[in-house]
């Protein structure tokens, strides 16, 4: 059956930050400084990007919190949806971020530490306000899920982790291939296909996307995929 669907495939700008500066690592290691946050976001907007995910890449690792003052400035000037991730471990962190205008929160380490956290946020703010950051690496013939910036492994298998987080009330999965992160090597097709099979919520793919054209190509191949994140694709053209 051919259903008319006007919802456009998404291309989301992933903004990785550390100490209020845009940074980029490779396979979630060894970040280098890129630019200021407003400059980077404007580069995205000029490329036609209308949705963002701002992620503090060291907050969970160092047990710090994403800087609310900087985010507040961003939210006051950017009138597009912005998901925030990194170091969100308690419902109080979540309240603070929604209070300043976050559209959605992205959780990973927070769930590993408190498996009620997603449920608590979804109950108040709705499922559409919580995403799960599924960071995956392929090791000797199997996929493993990581947290704390790819330093720690979730106990659950990929299937069980998806089931548990969907049951807890997430409204989206932001899937990252750690192997492809920051490599410009193209999307991990095998990983996308695997995850689409196990999910009932929208899935955004991130990792290795080379250009906006590459993102559009992945979007058109996988009709079930909600969208693709770009990051190095924009950095390459700064």
């Amino acid at each position: 059956m051919n259903i008319k669907n006007n919802i456009k495939k998404r291309i989301v700008g992933k903004i990785e930050i550390k100490n209020n500066f845009v940074v980029k690592g490779r396979r979630m290691e060894g970040v280098r400084k890129i630019s200021s946050i407003p400059y980077f976001i404007n580069k995205h907007i000029n490329s036609g990007i209308k949705e963002f995910c701002v992620h503090d890449v060291v907050a969970s690792l160092y047990n710090t919190q994403i800087d609310l003052v900087t985010l507040n400035q961003t939210f006051s000037n950017i009138f597009y949806p912005i998901t925030v991730g990194g170091g969100i471990h308690t419902i109080e962190h979540a309240h603070n971020l929604f209070k300043i205008g976050a559209e959605k929160l992205c959780i990973n380490t927070g769930f590993a530490r408190d498996n009620k956290l997603i449920n608590k946020i979804a109950k108040i703010y709705g499922s559409q306000a919580v995403s799960f950051a599924l960071d995956v690496r392929f090791i000797s013939n199997d996929f493993y899920c990581f947290f704390e910036t790819a330093r720690e492994t979730h106990e659950e298998s990929i299937e069980n982790l998806i089931k548990k987080t969907q049951d807890a009330g997430i409204g989206e999965i932001i899937l990252t291939s750690i192997d492809r992160d920051g490599t410009n090597k193209g999307a991990d097709i095998r990983l996308i296909e695997e995850i689409l099979q196990h999910t009932s919520v929208p899935v955004l793919y991130s990792g290795g996307i080379q250009s906006i054209q590459d993102a559009e190509a992945i979007n058109s191949i996988y009709s079930e995929l909600s969208g693709v994140c770009v990051n190095s694709a924009i950095i390459n053209n700064l």
Binding site: I3, K50, F79, P81, G101, E103, A129, E224, S226
Partner: protein, 198 residues
């Protein structure tokens, strides 16, 4: 004057950021409890999250009765997302909740594919394409079953749904004009000015 109920649930800040930015020339205030309202005041009702929580919070803060009174007095109202959904007769998200019943129709769970629906989509009124706006919702009003006067519509993978309703003094939007970039802000500004100057 524009009044916005100061609720915990809801994207109050993104709406107030947008209104501050659009240079309306009209003051707005956030209120925990409803002020005395006149017919010319506009209440903007943003909302995200669970509709049961949303209506309960409005009741606890005495806004619920105040909004009904304002409506009956032909006052001006704009609802966004769950705020818009609350204007219908009932919602499957919480069968026991008292929606406002300003528009006939039921808010239904969209379950024909992946949910929530997330992304930008083109929206039409009875005659034209009015632009591209950002949607994020798991519940919606089916546009085939319910079609209030002034309906805006769009298609997602679950079928044809109401994107909004625009009338002289009461408007509602399933999409988020405040998160739909400069074109979204301009649209919301025109709507607010149209409603206020009616």
């Amino acid at each position: 004057m524009i009044y916005i109920p100061h609720l915990q649930s809801g994207n109050i800040k993104s709406v107030t950021n947008a209104i501050s930015h659009m240079e309306l020339g009209i003051n707005f205030e956030l209120h925990k409890n409803p002020p005395d309202l006149t017919r010319n005041d506009l209440i903007i009702l943003p909302g995200v999250g669970d509709i049961g929580n949303f209506i309960n919070e409005l009741k606890e803060l005495f806004w619920y009765e105040s909004i009904i009174k304002h409506y009956k007095n032909n006052g001006k109202l704009i609802g966004i997302c769950v705020g818009f959904q609350s204007f219908f007769s009932k919602s499957e998200e919480d069968e026991n909740v008292d929606c406002f019943d300003f528009f006939e129709g039921t808010v239904e769970r969209m379950n024909k594919g992946r949910s929530p629906v997330i992304g930008f989509a083109n929206v039409n009124n009875e005659a034209d394409d009015i632009g591209e706006f950002y949607f994020v919702h798991s519940y919606g009003v089916n546009a085939i079953k319910n079609s209030p006067k002034g309906s805006l519509r769009y298609h997602n993978m679950h079928g044809e749904y109401l994107a909004g309703v625009v009338t002289k003094n009461i408007c509602g939007f399933q999409f988020h004009p405040e998160k739909s970039g400069p074109a979204g802000l301009q649209y919301l500004k025109n709507i607010i000015l149209g409603v206020i100057n009616d």
